[in-house]
């Protein structure tokens, strides 16, 4: 009967759209394997997954902001700023014991990230400024403050002791899995739980889908939006916690254009830029895809250095076309 045919149809439809980014991912893996036999090696894939951590984690935060119908352009500069603050804090030597210092620095970083996110949220909601402009403004602010803190140079973690303790957070592994990969999945799992299984998550989607409806349903729209920005700030802070042990230093150029990459990961992952739907797992899939494209470029030795961005751009478009055709077939 028709009444029964209906839900089934719907189910398939939803499924395919969620699956599409993963299909694109698999396609890329195949292309990569053809390009260079080293590609499909475990070491290489682990490398790629590990270094996608920064963008992936930031993009998870961006999924909240975008689902709620906003946009955050400041995340790249925020990484630079929060990382500078963290290193300066550790260099201050305020706490003698290095382990204690590290713990304090982690807490400090999370607070700093949340505060930056809160600032974005308040400027956007209280100030009633388009998020694009508001966060473009804070992007400049964070970037400038970083330049000023670093006096145009770099800020480098001084204590070799701290470096040694901290290093494994990026370079170590748990049960054979690199720590950053573990953290990506932990962050994504928590985010997916919040977005799909809690009241707040529902409200995020409702606010992004239709602000008036959300307001009429008794949801405090501005609070939901602000919290999304704070979540974004926390995700940036977590990315910083991984970034600092990797490069051990930051400068005014850290994180340039990461906001674009994060947004791209979110959109490639299937979340619409207009808000109203979030796909957290799709997002990290999107981040992997972006990193894989770069990796394939690097491993392929027959593409002119000059044409890299051309090929990269084409791959992104083709991957999206593949996704679309998959969804449309359903």
């Amino acid at each position: 009967m028709a009444a029964q045919a209906k839900p089934a149809r719907n189910w398939k439809d939803i499924d395919l759209r969620a699956v599409a980014p993963f299909a694109a991912l698999i396609l890329l893996l195949i292309v990569g394997a053809l390009v260079n036999p080293n590609f499909i090696g475990l070491a290489n894939l682990a490398n790629v997954a590990t270094r996608s951590a920064f963008i992936a984690i930031i993009a998870v935060g961006a999924t909240f902001v975008i689902s709620s119908g906003d946009l955050d352009l400041s995340v790249g500069s925020m990484v630079a700023f929060v990382a500078s603050l963290m290193i300066i804090f550790m260099n201050s030597g305020a706490i003698a014991d290095p382990h204690l210092m590290l713990v304090a620095a982690v807490v400090f970083t999370l607070i700093a990230g949340a505060a930056c996110g809160l600032a974005n949220g308040l400027i956007t909601t209280l100030g009633k400024i388009e998020p694009f402009i508001a966060t473009l403004g804070t992007m400049g602010i964070f970037r400038g403050l970083t330049t000023w803190l670093s006096q145009g140079g770099a800020i480098t973690l001084k204590s070799p002791e701290l470096q040694t303790i901290y290093r494994p957070v990026y370079f170590g592994s748990i049960l054979g899995i690199p720590v950053p990969i573990v953290i990506i999945f932990a962050v994504t799992a928590v985010a997916a739980f919040i977005l799909y299984r809690t009241r707040y998550g529902r409200h995020v989607v409702a606010v992004g889908s239709n602000r008036d409806v959300a307001r009429y349903s008794g949801i405090t729209v501005d609070r939901v939006r602000t919290i999304a920005f704070v979540i974004q700030g926390l995700c940036v802070a977590i990315a910083v916690l991984l970034y600092v042990p990797r490069l051990g230093s930051t400068s005014a150029t850290t994180g340039i254009l990461w906001e674009l990459q994060a947004i791209t990961a979110v959109v490639v992952g299937g979340t619409a830029l207009k808000g109203g739907a979030g796909r957290v797992w799709g997002t990290i899939c999107g981040a992997f895809i972006l990193e894989l494209v770069g990796n394939i470029m690097l491993l392929s030795n027959f593409i002119s250095e000059y044409l890299i961005s051309t090929i990269q751009g084409s791959i992104i478009i083709i991957a999206m076309l593949v996704q679309r055709s998959l969804v449309r077939k359903s």
Partner: protein, 508 residues
């Protein structure tokens, strides 16, 4: 409830001398209103009389400019934005209040989700949604996205949402405008049940028969002023209509004119199928008014959209004056003089943030083009004409479409489609939310068009409309045309029998 009982009952909610202005334009003038426990109170009035505004004020969605609201005899300031729900006051908005990206269950529980240990209890919410929908006899899937629902189904979700909350007062702003007789019957059953359990209802509708059937008392507004409150039993339809319009109404429907049986066939549809509609065939002649009837989701809209080229078809062909139309080609259908008026005025009909004129001329801009540029004067003239022709009444000429009263939006939409001067007009719910006075005008307008040789297809869930207006009526059921009635056959009983599947005919 007997009139005597109403007199004795306690007043739950009352409005005293309510005035309301939007940007300095007054729309309510010192209106009094009172609602007793366990009554169904009809609120009547012409389009733009201020019914929706009053209802919104009494449920906290708008604040009155002056005046007082009494809840259980105590003066209150109702909290804004649906927070009045905590006081037991819920509302079914005239314009839907659903987020397109959410599912039915999510919408039903938005803002009052059930959680267990901080986690959403999705299973329970789904079950309760199912229960609420079943009570209303709705087939809507509780996991379906709102964006995939038809207007009528959205209306059902809105109703389910309101009724499922244990409310003391339920405001229903034209809940039945897009419902067919059958759905309305089930809804009324539920409303009566709840009323008997003590819930009070305010029922806004332009369907006089429903008002007579369901309600205990009637309040009539005219131009933002209170006119009369009286027990329904003491009035009849004529009297109410007269109170609303301020003059006597002649017969609602114009005389039918049988079309020329040898008239040329202007539109012919053969074996048309879409995802849901199966093998639909029919023909319409010049000067004919063909009706389409059926229950919610019987596929009328989908069929008409396919005919108009707004939706691709998987099989079948459509010919206008003998010329075949390609699937999904709305432009060439338009070019051949076919126009379709949607019933989903909010998301498919009008640009809610644009002014009236911009909406009116959107579909027919070429008529106002001078060489390269649009002539504002000619557009303004069109607007003046349309206002007169369709009796569009607004107090503020610069208002955006989204702020107009529901009925006036509908008139604007009709005017917009008519601006293209089509030869074949498919009208989906022509009088959705339109008051009796204007309804009459529109019916006469349709009849006049037919007399002038236009061809009209009326898709309507209002059975009297189909019966009073059409010379032939097609009945749809589950995506198929199951009957084609003519002349004496056209009666409520016959149509129902086809629509409910009790009778079937091999439609040509």
């Amino acid at each position: 409830m007997k009139p005597e009982a109403v007199d004795g009952a306690r007043t739950v909610l009352a409005a005293k001398r309510i005035c309301k202005s939007f940007n300095g334009v007054q729309v309510l003038f010192s209106v009094d209103f009172d609602l007793k426990a366990g009554e169904i109170h009809a609120l009547m009035g012409e389009n733009g009389a201020g019914k929706s505004t009053l209802v919104k004020i009494l449920s906290g969605f708008e604040q009155p400019t002056s005046g007082e609201i009494l809840l259980d005899g105590k003066s209150v300031k109702l909290p804004a934005n649906g927070a009045a729900e905590a006081l037991g006051i819920v509302i079914i908005h005239q314009e839907f209040n659903l987020a397109e990206h959410l599912t039915v269950t999510e919408s039903l529980f938005l803002g009052r989700e059930i959680t267990r240990f901080g986690m959403l209890d999705r299973k329970r919410m789904r079950a309760e949604t199912r229960r609420a929908l079943d009570l209303l006899g709705s087939h809507v899937n509780e996991n379906a996205l709102i964006s995939s629902l038809s207007v009528a189904d959205k209306q059902m979700v809105e109703i389910a949402k309101a009724i499922s909350r244990d409310a003391r007062v339920v405001f229903m702003d034209e809940p039945t405008a897009v419902l067919s007789r059958e759905e309305t019957r089930v809804l009324f059953e539920q409303v009566r049940k709840l009323r008997d359990a003590g819930t009070s209802f305010v029922f806004v509708s332009h369907k006089l028969d429903e008002v007579m059937e369901l309600t205990d008392r009637v309040t009539v507004l005219r131009d933002g002023q209170w006119v009369k409150t009286a027990p329904t039993a003491m009035l009849d339809g004529e009297a109410i209509a007269q109170l609303m319009v301020g003059r006597e109404l002649s017969s609602l429907y114009p005389g039918k004119r049988e079309p020329d049986v040898d008239g040329e066939i202007v539109l012919s549809v053969r074996g048309l199928s879409t995802g849901f509609v199966k093998d639909a065939s029919f023909e319409v002649r010049k000067g004919e008014v063909l009706g389409f009837s059926g229950l919610i989701g019987s596929g009328r809209t989908e069929l008409m959209e396919a005919v108009a080229g707004l939706r691709p078809r998987v099989a079948g062909d459509v010919r206008i004056n003998g010329a075949p139309m390609a699937s999904g080609d709305a432009l060439s259908a338009n070019a051949h003089g076919l126009a379709y008026m949607t019933k989903d005025r909010k998301s498919k009909g009008l640009l809610l943030n644009a002014g009236m004129t911009a909406n009116l001329t959107l579909q027919s801009l070429e008529r106002h083009s001078r060489l390269f540029y649009l002539d504002p004067k000619s557009e303004a003239e069109a607007m003046t004409r349309a206002k007169r022709r369709f009796d569009i009444r607004v107090r503020d000429a610069n208002i955006v479409a989204g702020r107009m009263s529901g009925g006036n939006q509908q008139k604007l939409l009709l005017a917009k489609v008519m601006e293209t001067e089509p030869q074949i007009i498919i009208i989906d719910e022509p009088t959705r939310g339109i008051d009796v006075g204007t309804k009459q005008q529109i019916y006469h307008f349709i009849a006049a068009l037919a007399r002038d040789g236009h061809t009209i297809i009326v898709v309507s869930s209002e059975m009297p409309e189909v019966i009073g207006l059409c010379t032939r009526v097609a009945v749809m059921r589950e995506g198929r045309i199951v009957g084609m009635l003519e002349g004496e056959e056209i009666s409520e009983r016959e149509i129902m029998r086809y629509a409910a599947g009790l009778k079937k005919q091999d439609a040509a």
